[in-house]
């Protein structure tokens, strides 16, 4: 029977199906971090259980770590406690930890791929919703809650019901200045923040094929913002080339065998999806969000919609969002002033993002009133940026290169945007208060964010490119 890419992987990982209920899904890799794991460790200890497969778990500290002076003890007591608890738990349970100071430390969704831990055909989970990122390699990867972290600790399995199947096809060439981030913000603006709830989403088409692995990760990363259980892209030569030679990638005989399997991972020609969406890449402009969910986005040259243009049921939330954002319905978004620029998060903090930004800002300087934070996704990205002299370019531009972590993406550490201030951000969520209580977030691509850093307001980056 014809199968989707998702179904091929899913079927291979089913241990058992419960009559009238979910299936028992076997998990290959489990990534953990300091914020959503402590209660799970406490849970299995309370039950008197051991971690069933500690070798299939990898840990890092990312959500709640400072991005300055990482060599010093963490100042804030609760944050320090949380990071120390992770160290203690990993030691007690024999789990590999890439903690603060380790050359492999970084945002969990950046380091998994970077280290070759993420591989096609796997099932991967993490107590973080952006686990969907790893689907860029043709894996089933999804975020779970802490009780589920505990289940995987105890049994390496989860109870899951099979999601419906959606495919989003994107074909054609992208306009100047349009990046992977714009593709996914565009999809979100079309299908809304709940448009893919209940589905696994496969991204296909030649536009996706032509993206780098970094770009594909950016797209899959934001699948959760559409409500999707996960996002995935069939692996191809680009994928294999990216993985080859990485620290935890298979090698020798193992590589040949793995490759053989990976090449079978695609949706069969005649398979029928529950839902299929087609997008023409030429319709996509540099995107920016104006509201308080990632589905509230427009092309940078468009005007913010008015309440009248909304379906009646959406009006109340629209008005509430505009109120919070201090943005007038119907106004142009171009020219909106920004106070902070945040280039980072598991959506856009990979070396390719930093290279793009540094190429663009070389010889330019930030607007005086704007504060610019560049937060690399991992120690390795930071190191690479220094080796390539990107750090110098940022310094000359007045951009602050910090140390790796989630940082202002969720504002759990001290990297918070003050109340009422506008931040153009390459992260994935513009929810009320996400970047700090009262902070106002405009989501955009790294290039659009860099353009705003230079001009001090929302700008059409394509006009600034030669």
């Amino acid at each position: 029977m014809a199968k989707t890419l998702f179904e091929k992987i899913w079927d291979k990982h089913i241990v058992k199906k419960i009559e009238g209920g979910p299936s028992v899904l076997y998990i290959d890799k489990h990534l953990i971090h300091e914020v959503t794991s402590p209660q799970a460790f406490a849970g299995i200890e309370k039950r008197g259980l051991q971690i069933f497969r500690p070798k299939q778990i990898v840990a890092t500290a990312d959500h709640n770590v400072p991005t300055l002076n990482q060599h010093l003890p963490i100042k804030e007591k609760l944050s320090r406690q949380q990071v120390d608890t992770l160290i203690k738990n990993c030691t007690n349970h024999h789990i590999e930890l890439f903690g603060l100071g380790h050359p492999y430390q970084g945002i969990v969704h950046v380091i998994g791929p970077e280290l070759g831990i993420t591989q096609p055909g796997m099932t991967i989970v993490c107590g973080d919703s952006h686990t969907s990122t790893h689907g860029a390699f043709g894996a089933i990867a999804f975020g779970i809650g802490t009780s589920e972290v505990e289940m995987v600790f105890a049994t390496q399995c989860l109870l899951q019901s099979k999601p419906k199947q959606m495919r989003i096809n994107i074909n054609g060439s992208l306009k100047k200045g349009v990046l992977a981030k714009d593709i996914v913000l565009y999809i979100l603006s079309k299908i809304s923040a709940s448009g893919a709830t209940g589905y696994a989403v496969e991204y296909a088409g030649d536009t996706i094929r032509n993206l780098s692995m970094e770009g594909r990760m950016t797209v899959c990363n934001m699948s959760i913002e559409m409500g999707a259980r996960c996002g995935l892209i069939a692996p191809d030569e680009t994928t294999f080339k990216y993985i080859h030679g990485r620290a935890f990638a298979p090698n020798g005989e193992g590589w040949i065998k793995a490759l053989q399997y990976w090449k079978t991972l695609y949706s069969d020609d005649n398979v029928v999806f529950d839902k299929e969406i087609n997008i023409d890449a030429a319709d996509i402009s540099p995107m920016i969000t104006y509201g308080t969910n990632p589905g509230m986005g427009i092309g940078v040259n468009e005007n913010v919609p008015t309440a009248n243009a909304m379906a009646e049921s959406d009006r109340a939330s629209f008005v509430k969002a505009m109120d919070y954002m201090g943005i007038a319905p119907g106004a142009a978004i171009k020219g909106q002033k920004v106070d902070y620029v945040f280039i980072g998060s598991c959506t856009n903090s990979r070396i390719e993002d930093l290279r793009l930004v540094s190429d663009f800002v070389k010889g330019k300087h930030k607007a005086p009133q704007v504060e610019v934070w560049i937060v690399p996704g991992s120690k390795q990205v930071e190191q690479q940026a220094i080796e390539e002299g990107i750090d110098k370019i940022f310094e000359e531009a007045g951009f602050q290169l910090r140390q790796p972590g989630c940082s202002a993406c969720l504002g759990m550490n001290e990297d918070k945007i003050p109340a009422g201030k506008y931040c153009i951000s390459t992260s994935n969520r513009n929810f009320e208060g996400r970047q700090g209580a009262g902070a106002r977030t405009l989501l955009a691509s790294p290039l659009s964010a860099a353009a705003a850093a230079i001009t001090g307001y929302v700008t059409d980056v394509s006009k600034m490119l030669q």
Binding site: Q39, E150, M151, S194, N293, R429
Partner: protein, 194 residues
């Protein structure tokens, strides 16, 4: 860990007529620093509840601060619980005394997290949700898990809701998924060696 059992919930409700309530609103990230499951209830909807993050200054217009609204049931607009996978959201709701959340649409991860913590997510039609919001503030709802129905007591309006059999059994009996998974460890080890 066995959870509280749920059977029939007969209670007044707290109406939160807002759509796309994300888990960052339910519990903001700065309150996720705890390493236990307790005490999250007091920060439920923190930024909607207090002026300037000051818990001596409750915002009067927010439902959780209005004494006429109370009960074990939270009723909210569509796409409830979207965003972050933080289970702290479900813990906060449970800790604040809710045993059921009613909405016309739930985000996936939240729904699972709620079920894993003895909070029943009840999905109703848009029309039914609207009727609930139109009720007076001391109106009572009856959620009958065995029958899978929800009733507005005052009008007798009734709707049935979906829940898979396995999860239903778990809630009725206070079991959780780990108990089940541990009971099939044999199958899991056989699967691994295949």
């Amino acid at each position: 860990m066995s959870k509280n059992k749920i059977n029939i919930i007969h209670s007044t409700f707290v109406p939160l007529n807002i759509e796309n309530v994300d888990t960052d609103q339910i519990i903001p990230a700065r309150f996720l620093k705890g390493t236990t499951r307790d005490g999250f209830g007091k920060n439920l909807f923190r930024d909607w509840r207090y002026e300037n993050d000051d818990d001596s200054k409750p915002k009067k217009d927010f439902v959780l601060n209005q004494s006429e609204y109370k009960g074990q049931i939270l009723v909210a607009g569509k796409n409830f619980g979207c965003g972050s996978s933080r289970e702290h959201a479900a813990w906060a709701i449970h800790d604040a005394g809710f045993t059921a959340v009613v909405s016309s649409f739930f985000a996936d991860i939240f729904k699972n997290n709620a079920l894993n913590n003895g909070v029943l997510p009840v999905t109703v039609s848009e029309a039914f949700l609207k009727q609930i919001f139109e009720q007076a503030n001391n109106a009572i709802l009856t959620i009958n898990l065995p029958d899978q129905t929800i009733t507005i007591d005052a009008t007798g309006e009734k709707e049935s809701f979906e829940i898979n059999n396995y999860k239903k059994e778990c809630l009725l009996n206070g079991y959780d998924d780990i108990d089940y998974l541990l009971s099939i460890m044999n199958d899991i080890e056989i699967f691994e060696s295949a």
